[in-house]
């Protein structure tokens, strides 16, 4: 039964199966779901950054047409609902655990950021719910607000949470300060740089939405939600907030229109609609509008750092010292504490042989939306810091910036390589990715392009970044020792149906990554079944065994590995069935892409022969073997994976207006084995778009009173197609040594490697002006100020 199909296995650019659905408008997103008897919720949110709630008067609102119920913080407190839990605990330098103040699902007695939910109104229509919300009278007593790191840490700043002194969540460090200080004292040269990693709003295309449904006959709750990890939501919501047995709760994350991290976390609205559906006896739907997304989705980044390199006389790095302040926002979002610590400071060796590193990180509460992981999470912050510092150092040491990087690279023969900041890299080849990127980007020909641009009145610059990241998260025991309150394995079930088609259940979740295709290719490659006959099921806790979801480029490295393990079990069982059918011994059965063969003979059985026998066990070793052909495996990774590579950006600046145009971008990444080159290219391009957005366009701005100034697309600059040149993407592979696929991950590399390449290019373009550093985003107004401010210093 051999069907001839084009090669669809590992390495083929199979077109994305899911796109047929999405491109025809047939996606099934949370807001597309309408349950019988459904009502609608509107969340009343705080207009203040910081205020006491003296009272909430809902009397008039409750009497409005269509209203089924209005619940405030007092109601959820009285009902005994728990707060939103934090999934990671950091300990400060002195050993004390981080401050972990309560995060109620509805603000109780106090609001702490603009957008903090104050009440949920459930009504027949969304419009009625909103009308009633407008009729709620909240008596606020405004308090001084501290939206910035500086304001929150100022002497006399109003504490945002009772008992949290100085608004400090934790004051953490890694490395040996004395050793690093000594290295600095003895250094030939040191280079220091102060820099800001700008706050970003993730802005997934699909705003968050949730539908809660209580079944009064069974007592079961179902939550449909825009989540990257439905099992995690079920666990946190059932165990911590609603205090229900997980067996009574089902969480479904259907098609999700982008997450970028912002849909990892357990949000108040999820618990509120689920709980409220039982209170009003009807399903409750809530869908955020874009304004709400800006003020309630977890934001990203927001660091202020000082970074210093110590060098010997040959330009070799002797030590790195970093002090970072991280804005946590008003409450701890689900994974917030690990972002500026274990996803950041442990990456500070980068691709370099820096022998000693000391980093201290102060996490601070502010009157802003909570900050958590956003595409790259911690690793873009580390990379930006290192790669900007590298360029500044190259200039100040008078060493070519490419040469300085090369001199400090971890050599290709040094793996496994133990860094001074806990991680052990398994593989990489930074000279090769650099060489390839320099070649593709025609680095050598740049000066001619700069001269040509100058003739057109443009300032042209080129910038490079050589980077590394850690993903494929994560070994459970390791993260547990670092404060994670969860394991980070993944689950995969392979269900071979009687007639040979296959269903794969995975605990990872696809919200744009193309899993339905990539995972089908894995199965096709290994079991020899056409991609069209492999269905990937994800996103439903009632269907899939307990899995941890998708973030940190883990779906393939961890989730795919679980599938490989499960397929190994299928093959092992299949061999026993085949041996029985062909009257051979199990040891003599070989398997290759769908065919079981008695070694050295032409006797074969196809996978479908085996599955038929397994489900119709007439001629079957029933005494020794259970019927059926379905296997589940949990895979816990042995290490992180370490993608890395080189990005080169080329910009042109209009010297009259200061506008920066990105004119070339080249990425050469080592993402390990590539399953689908087209999907990898798309992932890298998307990541680069967001990295370029951070470098040139995006900036979340609060004013001094904590009002969100960049609270809509009119003021928050998202990258658009015409902001980007065609992004050249190439890969250079070294295999991951510790997972069965040799894969590393490609979801975040674009957003991690690109921002410093772009800023380095901008600074290079301005090399005739007196510029040492430019903060992101490098807007036209900012560049003009630099050009204007240094009039006379540069030859026109």
């Amino acid at each position: 039964m051999n069907v001839v199909t084009p090669f669809e296995g590992i390495g083929a650019s199979v077109r994305r199966k899911e796109d047929f659905r999405f491109l025809q408008g047939k996606g099934n997103y949370t807001d597309d779901l309408n349950r019988p008897g459904q009502t609608h919720a509107w969340i009343l949110r705080s207009p203040h950054a910081h205020a006491k709630i003296r009272g909430v008067d809902i009397a008039a609102a409750k009497a409005m047409p269509g209203v089924h119920g209005i619940f405030t913080g007092a109601d959820t407190e009285a009902a005994g609902l728990g707060g939103l839990p934090c999934g990671w605990q950091i300990h400060s330098k002195d050993g004390t655990p981080m401050a972990e103040p309560p995060h109620p699902v509805l603000a109780f007695e106090r609001v702490r950021h603009v957008g903090d939910p104050v009440a949920i109104v459930v009504a027949e229509t969304r419009s009625q719910a909103r009308d009633a919300a407008e009729a709620i009278i909240v008596d606020y007593e405004p308090l001084p607000a501290a939206p910035s790191l500086e304001q929150a840490q100022a002497a006399g700043a109003t504490p945002i949470h009772e008992g949290v002194a100085g608004n400090i969540c934790y004051d953490w460090h890694i490395g040996d300060k004395a050793v690093v200080d000594a290295a600095f004292a003895a250094a030939h040269r040191t280079v220091a740089l102060d820099l800001v990693n700008n706050r970003l709003v993730p802005n997934a295309m699909e705003p968050r939405a949730a539908v809660g449904e209580f079944d009064r006959f069974t007592g079961d709750y179902t939550l449909y939600t825009t989540s990257q990890n439905p099992h995690v939501i079920r666990l946190l919501m059932a165990a911590n907030v609603l205090k229900l047995p997980e067996s009574k709760v089902r969480v479904v994350a259907p098609d999700v229109g982008g997450g970028f991290g912002s849909k990892i976390y357990h949000y108040a609205e999820e618990a509120l609609v689920t709980w409220a559906s039982a209170q009003v006896g009807r399903p409750v739907k809530w869908t955020a509008d874009r304004t709400e997304a800006f003020m309630s989705d977890a934001h990203g980044r927001d660091h202020i750092s000082r970074a210093e390199f110590a060098f010997d006389k040959d330009g070799r790095i002797l030590a790195l010292r970093v002090a970072t302040q991280a804005n946590m926002g008003a409450y701890l979002s689900t994974f917030a504490p690990c972002v500026p610590t274990y996803l950041y400071a442990t990456l500070l060796a980068g691709v370099y042989t820096t022998p000693v590193i000391y980093a201290e990180v102060k996490a601070v509460f502010t009157n802003t939306v909570p900050v958590d992981a956003y595409r790259g999470a911690g690793r873009p912050e580390a990379t930006y810091l290192l790669e900007r510092l590298m360029d500044v150092a190259a200039r100040e040491l008078g060493i070519d910036r490419v040469e300085l990087r090369r001199r400090n690279f971890i050599p290709a023969d040094a793996f496994p390589y133990q860094t001074p900041v806990a991680l052990q890299y398994d593989s990489g080849d930074y000279q090769s990715t650099l060489n390839e990127c320099l070649r593709v980007a025609d680095w050598a020909g740049f000066e001619a392009r700069r001269a040509e641009a100058a003739a057109r009145g443009k300032l042209r610059g080129i910038g490079i970044s050589t980077y590394l990241e850690a993903c494929g998260i994560a070994p459970s025991a390791v993260v547990g020792s670092l404060g994670a309150r969860a394991g980070l394995y993944e689950v995969g079930t392979i269900r071979v149906h009687p007639t040979g088609s296959i269903t794969v259940l995975t605990g990872s979740h696809s919200h744009g990554q193309g899993h339905e295709t990539t995972f089908a290719q894995l199965v096709s490659d290994k079991l020899g079944v056409p991609v069209a006959q492999v269905d990937i099921v994800h996103g439903d806790t009632a269907k899939v065994p307990f899995g941890m979801g998708t973030y940190g480029s883990r779906s393939l490295a961890v989730g795919g590995s679980a599938m490989m393990k499960a397929m190994d079990k299928i093959i092992a069982k299949g061999k026993r069935i085949a041996a029985h059918l062909m009257e051979a011994s199990v040891e003599d059965i070989e398997f290759d892409r769908g065919t079981f063969r008695v070694a050295g003979t032409d006797r074969t059985k196809a996978l479908v022969d085996i599955s038929v026998a397994a489900y119709v066990p007439h001629n079957y070793p029933i005494e020794e073997l259970e019927p059926g052909l379905e296997e589940t495996a949990f895979y816990d990774p042995k290490n992180f994976t370490y993608p890395g590579g080189c990005h080169i950006a080329e910009v042109e600046i209009d010297r009259e207006t200061g506008k920066v145009d990105l004119v070339n971008f080249t990425a050469v990444d080592d993402v390990g084995r590539v399953i689908n080159p087209m999907i990898v290219e798309g992932q890298v391009q998307g990541g680069v778009a967001q990295g370029v957005g951070q470098a040139l366009l995006e900036s979340c701005i609060y004013d001094a009173d904590g009002q969100l100034v960049s609270g809509s697309m009119m003021d928050y600059t998202m990258p658009r197609a015409d902001d980007l040149p065609p992004v050249g993407v190439a890969t250079h592979t070294t295999l991951c040594t510790h997972n069965p696929l040799g894969v590393k991950g490609c979801g975040e590399v674009g957003a991690i490697g690109s921002p410093p390449a772009v800023i380095n290019a901008v600074v290079d373009a301005l090399r005739d002006f007196d510029v040492r550093h430019i903060e992101m985003p490098a807007t036209a107004a900012k560049i003009w100020q630099i050009i204007n401010g240094s009039h006379g210093k540069a030859a026109a």
Partner: protein
């Protein structure tokens, strides 16, 4: 949005009657009004949809002027052979408003009546010395734009068409706001029956004429003539996208480029 009554009259006279209700509002392309309604920033009792009024349509040559009906969409102006032949700078400007969706919905009548300080059209209307025709009268551009989102139109007065005198030369250049892509600073320059005109949009709270630049261009129509003229930053807009000083600087740059574009 809040509930409202919806009317779709087919004559200007009927529309004016419906707009006698001070809380009723006209709607054309809806690209400004609908977002405001969705955000509940506006609570009209009724919307009077002008899109069914045939007399508000059409682009035609009338003597030495191009007359554009209020309902003309930006894309129609951009694609009009009449406009391209007579005032290419106006077609160019219309072709660079917002994005494709905006150009296929937004109308010249809606844009000019709205008088958004960051809109493109007010620069062309003022920069060409156009005449605004309404359900009641004709208003010179110089008397029309009164301030931020404020015009000489009365609540029950409908903009019906705009008559653009055909210039000898005209040019437009703008710098976009990076986020909204509206105008951060834009200059529409012309030379013709209405004299030499330089209208600046985006930079201040309302479109305005730059007298120093007009004088310089009257003496010497060249980009160089305006290159050295500085716009005072006082009274210009300042926000997270650019200071008043930056916008003042852009005024000069854009005026220069507009003249260069005019040829």
């Amino acid at each position: 949005m809040y509930d409202f009554a919806y009317h779709k009259p087919s004559t200007v006279a009927d529309a004016v009657k419906l707009l006698a209700d001070p809380d009723a509002k006209a709607i054309s392309g809806g690209h400004t009004l609908l977002p405001a309604l969705k955000h509940r920033l506006n609570k009209p009792t009724a919307l009077v949809d002008l899109s069914g009024i045939a007399e508000l349509r059409g682009i035609r040559r009338e003597g030495n002027a191009v007359v554009i009906g209020a309902l003309a969409k930006h894309a129609e102006v951009a694609a009009s052979a009449e406009v391209a032949a007579a005032i290419p700078a106006l077609a160019f400007m219309a072709d660079h408003i917002g994005d494709v969706q905006v150009r296929n919905r937004g109308t010249i009548g809606g844009s000019v009546s709205n008088n958004d300080p960051a809109a493109d059209y007010p620069a062309a209307v003022l920069g060409l010395g156009a005449t605004i025709r309404t359900s009641k009268r004709e208003i010179a551009a110089d008397d029309f734009f009164l301030g931020m989102f404020t015009t000489a139109l009365e609540p029950d007065e409908i903009l019906t068409a705009i008559s653009f005198p055909i210039p000898e030369k005209a040019g437009y250049a703008k710098m976009r706001n990076p986020a909204s892509r509206y105008v951060m600073a834009g200059a529409f320059v012309s030379k013709g029956p209405q004299g030499v005109r330089v209208a600046i949009t985006g930079a201040g709270p309302c479109v305005f004429r730059q007298a120093d630049m007009e004088a310089a261009l009257a003496a010497n129509w060249s980009a160089d003539a305006v290159a050295g003229i500085k716009q005072a930053p006082d009274d210009l807009n300042s926000d997270i996208h650019g200071s008043a000083e930056y916008r003042a600087h852009l005024v000069t740059v854009m005026a220069k480029r507009a003249v260069a574009n005019a040829g």
